[in-house]
């Protein structure tokens, strides 16, 4: 296990993981009560990945996410209020409420979704990197996808093109072992995803995705590599989702024992223990942290509750860019 670099940094990592978890626990509750509708895919169990990885990118860099992107948006810095409002479908949401859970967008933070067709974000990320490359900007594009996407042609085509053109894109595979309900070993002939990058001459590394420090150090190294102009890089974060794929899922495809075993590796519980062991952390710290997060979430819920619905007149607004006013 990696050592924590300083108390403040350690507490901050813990706090961020807790923010995601508590936020999403609230989401589950709100969903059951009918406040949040549609599909809801929770990230609970995988928090160490977003918390370790996302801060390694600068505000100039771009993030392309999937339908399980709540955690990434929270860590990227979008306030919880607009995120919760988005989940409610309110007009003060981060995408005017039009996308909901699967489609967070935040241009100010170069957060490009929230793209919810498996594999669909990879080519887009390659294109963002191409634009940076052609304009000689030393930016990196973070391209997040799951193990399920690795089966899509777009994964292979994107890796090839990015390597061929030496584009500054960092492929971040969140391998939670299930493509919806299909286990990795039942959808991949080669289950070592990092090795797939070999075929495209892309350097790659598999990382313990339940260890926030391991994620952080591996990602920092990879971002440096890409930013230096050496072309793409692939990281495979080995992680696990504790909750069902989406809310309406009986989880017939995995055993409770398996889930229980993985919960022994809960990134939050483990890291909390590590901080205690190093003497950085007390019960009072935890109470303060939880209270502050609970307040933040309550305010986000309030923001969503009080937010306005987008008026029907605006239904077709932004299907196209509005014409410039005459004169």
């Amino acid at each position: 296990m990696t050592h924590v670099v300083g108390r403040d940094h350690g507490l901050e990592l813990l706090r961020q993981m807790l923010r995601i978890r508590r936020f999403e626990e609230k989401c589950a509750e709100l969903y059951s009560g009918g406040k949040i509708r549609g599909f809801l895919h929770l990230y609970i169990g995988e928090e160490a990945v977003a918390v370790g990885a996302i801060p390694c990118f600068t505000s100039e860099d771009a993030i392309v996410g999937t339908y399980r992107e709540h955690g990434h948006a929270i860590i990227r810095g979008t306030p919880m209020g607009p995120l919760m409002a988005e989940l409610y479908g309110k007009a003060n949401g981060c995408a005017r409420g039009r996308g909901g859970s699967m489609h967070f967008f935040d241009a100010a933070r170069r957060f490009y979704g929230g793209l919810a067709i498996v594999g669909g974000g990879l080519p887009v990320a390659v294109g963002l990197a191409l634009a940076d490359h052609m304009q000689q900007r030393r930016r990196v594009t973070a391209c997040i996808f799951g193990d399920g996407a690795v089966a899509e042609g777009e994964f292979h085509e994107s890796l090839n093109l990015a390597a061929l053109w030496k584009l500054p894109v960092l492929f971040l595979c969140e391998n939670n072992l299930y493509a919806m309900g299909t286990a990795l070993g039942r959808h991949q002939s080669q289950t070592d995803i990092a090795r797939k990058a070999d075929a495209y001459a892309i350097p790659a590394e598999a990382v313990n995705g339940m260890d926030v420090l391991a994620v952080e150090s591996a990602t920092r190294k990879a971002v440096d590599f890409v930013r230096a102009g050496h072309g793409p890089y692939l990281l495979e974060y080995r992680t696990y989702r504790f909750r069902a794929h989406s809310m309406y899922d009986a989880e017939l495809y995995r055993t409770k024992d398996e889930v229980a075993q993985w919960k022994q590796r809960d990134p939050i519980a483990l890291f909390q223990q590590q901080l205690r062991d190093e003497g950085f952390f007390t019960d009072a710290d935890l109470d303060n942290m939880e209270t502050a997060i609970a307040t933040e979430i309550a305010e986000a819920v309030s923001c969503a509750e009080m937010g306005p619905w987008e008026p029907l007149e605006d239904l077709t607004k932004d299907v196209y860019t509005p014409a410039k006013p005459a004169g």
Binding site: A28, G33, G34, K35, I297, L312
Partner: protein, 402 residues
Amino acid sequence: MAEFVMPTLGSDMTEGTLVEWKKKVGDRVVKGEIFAEVDTEKAAIEIESFHTGVVEQLLTKPGERVPVGRVMAIIREEGTQAPPTIQAAASPLPLQRISPKAPVSSLHPAPPQIAAPDTEPGRRRISPAARKLAGELGMDPAFVQGTGPGGAITLEDIQRNAQTRRQQPSTPPAFAGETGDRQTKMRQTIAAAMARSKREIPHYYLSTTIDLGRAMTWLQEENLTRPVADRLLYGVLLIKAVALALRQVPELNALWKENTAVQSPGIHVGVAISLRQGGLIAPAIHDTDKQSLGELMSRFQDIVKRARTGTLRSSELSDPTITVTSLGEQGVETVFGVIYPPQVALIGFGKVVERPWVIGKQVVSRPVVTASLSADHRATDGHRGGVFLSAVDRLLQEPGQL
């Protein structure tokens, strides 16, 4: 107190059946703990509690079907380290089938865009069906009050108007009236039309004998591939050949109006049908040239049946652009027909007979038919008529193309 409700797990879930409670009254339940198992239509799913406390009441029994949103249990909450209370977050969530309160003005969706088409100034708005009926009734729609959208004249307007007119004395339209004098009326109508034809139309007559050998052979083979009910009669080949030939000589597919022949946009061949009780009628098979042989066959059978039961549509009586008559069954060899005005041509077919026929240098026996054309000399000349007959002949030599 907190309520535990039947959760919604997806937009397509409307109810669930309680399989079992994982806690009993008096048990402590912790937020996030599994509290109940619920069977939905898709699968049995474990449901967590979103509250920590003691189970106060279980309101639902295992096996009960519960709609989404109904309270199933009451949990007495413990004093937890609750965040500063914000009403919306702390109160139990009533299930809301979201019906957001949008500004009142926006609640009504935009009306569907069935824009009434713009009409040129001065042009009456009238529906196609209304226009057609008015034409059939000889009614000038200019005098009809329109009650449809934008003042358009509808079918109902014409019908209402016709009703009113009928109550006033007027000449009865052809084919109307009681069955008793129906035949008399029909005879009168035919008499008037034929007299007018012979009086006004300078007829010319052409005929040609056509080898039907290929057509008959093709027909036999084709019929082998068809269910008995769908078999073709050779007559439909003749009708189709006439319709296609008219595409080449459209002058014959015309109506004589106000001293000039007006070519018809559609080819609607009228088929002369003799009625059992006497008399004759020649209803149109619409768009004859566009029908497949199978369609023509079924249309033909249908129209004959309806002609004999008196259930033809008015459009079928008013729309023919040319008439085909076949008197082969009566043993007739050549037809010298009288044109039905305002049409400008009539085609007659006689009996199909085996005749000696010269092919190459050999005399062989072939089935042949005599096709004759009666045409209005005001509209066409014999030359075009000849072109037409030879087109019919040529078409019948390629029966597979019909």
